[in-house]
């Protein structure tokens, strides 16, 4: 849901329109003051947390389907996927709390 609704506009602006100079990117200070606002931090946490688990869940099942993984080998793949998403979430939470 977050990935479908929010990611396209973010990638269009931050990934293409700003780097290619189609639109003027916000400068460092104004972007920093935007990001340190508590509501923005919460927004960014959701913006990272949900999609990381979206990736973990779908990637896990795509690996199962694509490589026809049977029951015995499924568990380590699930562990790696959700583990990576959890690590990313903790790193995101730390980064968002540490920024000042």
């Amino acid at each position: 849901m977050v990935s479908a609704l929010l990611f396209p506009i973010h990638v269009l602006l931050i990934g293409l329109a700003f780097p290619l100079g189609w639109l003027d990117a916000p400068d460092y200070e104004s972007l920093r003051s935007l990001v340190i606002h508590p509501i923005t931090r919460l927004y960014l946490f959701v913006f990272i947390f949900f999609p990381l688990f979206h990736w973990a869940h779908r990637f896990r099942y795509t690996i199962y389907d694509l490589f026809q993984i049977k029951h015995g080998a499924q568990q380590p793949i699930a562990f790696l996927c959700y583990g990576a998403a959890l690590l990313g979430t903790i790193f995101a939470a730390y980064t968002l709390l540490a920024i000042a």
Binding site: A4, I9, H10, L13, P19, Q68, I99
Partner: protein, 138 residues
């Protein structure tokens, strides 16, 4: 001493019809399914890029300028172009599926599929305009 093996008292041995690794190339629907599921890889990478951008922002103007310069390299532009296409494919196929998965009744009648899908598109546009407005007003 007796050892129980197989049927009739043991569990039946299951027969698995061998399936080619290329099963997802055998029908267009299978291929679209795998393609759609693989868009999650871009979702994951973009989430990580966002974390790194916030980190660069927290490390000061120089670190941030370096990050922004990296986004300008052809490799990133190409990756973001393909990634944006994947995200749009994911979003549009999701909005297409939503009327099937979300049945809404209003005053005893089922809300038509076009209305459900249409409201999702409207919501998507509104959210996108708000995000763009906040970032461009800075």
């Amino acid at each position: 001493m007796s050892v129980q093996t197989g049927s009739p008292s043991g569990p039946p041995e299951l027969y698995h019809r061998p399936m080619s690794f290329w099963w997802w190339l055998q029908k267009r629907a299978y291929f679209n399914f795998i393609l759609r599921e693989l868009t999650c890889v871009f979702v994951g990478v973009f989430a990580v890029i966002t974390i790194l951008q916030i980190r660069a922002l927290s490390q000061g103007p120089d670190a941030y300028a370096e990050f922004i310069n990296r986004l300008r390299t052809p490799g990133f532009i190409l990756f973001n172009t393909v990634g944006l296409a994947a995200l749009l494919f994911h979003a549009i196929t999701w909005f297409k599926a939503v009327p099937t998965t979300m049945i809404v009744r209003f005053g005893g009648t089922r809300v038509p599929d076009q209305v459900i899908a249409g409201l999702h598109y409207v919501g998507w546009m509104v959210v996108s305009v708000v995000v763009a407005w906040i970032l461009l007003l800075r």
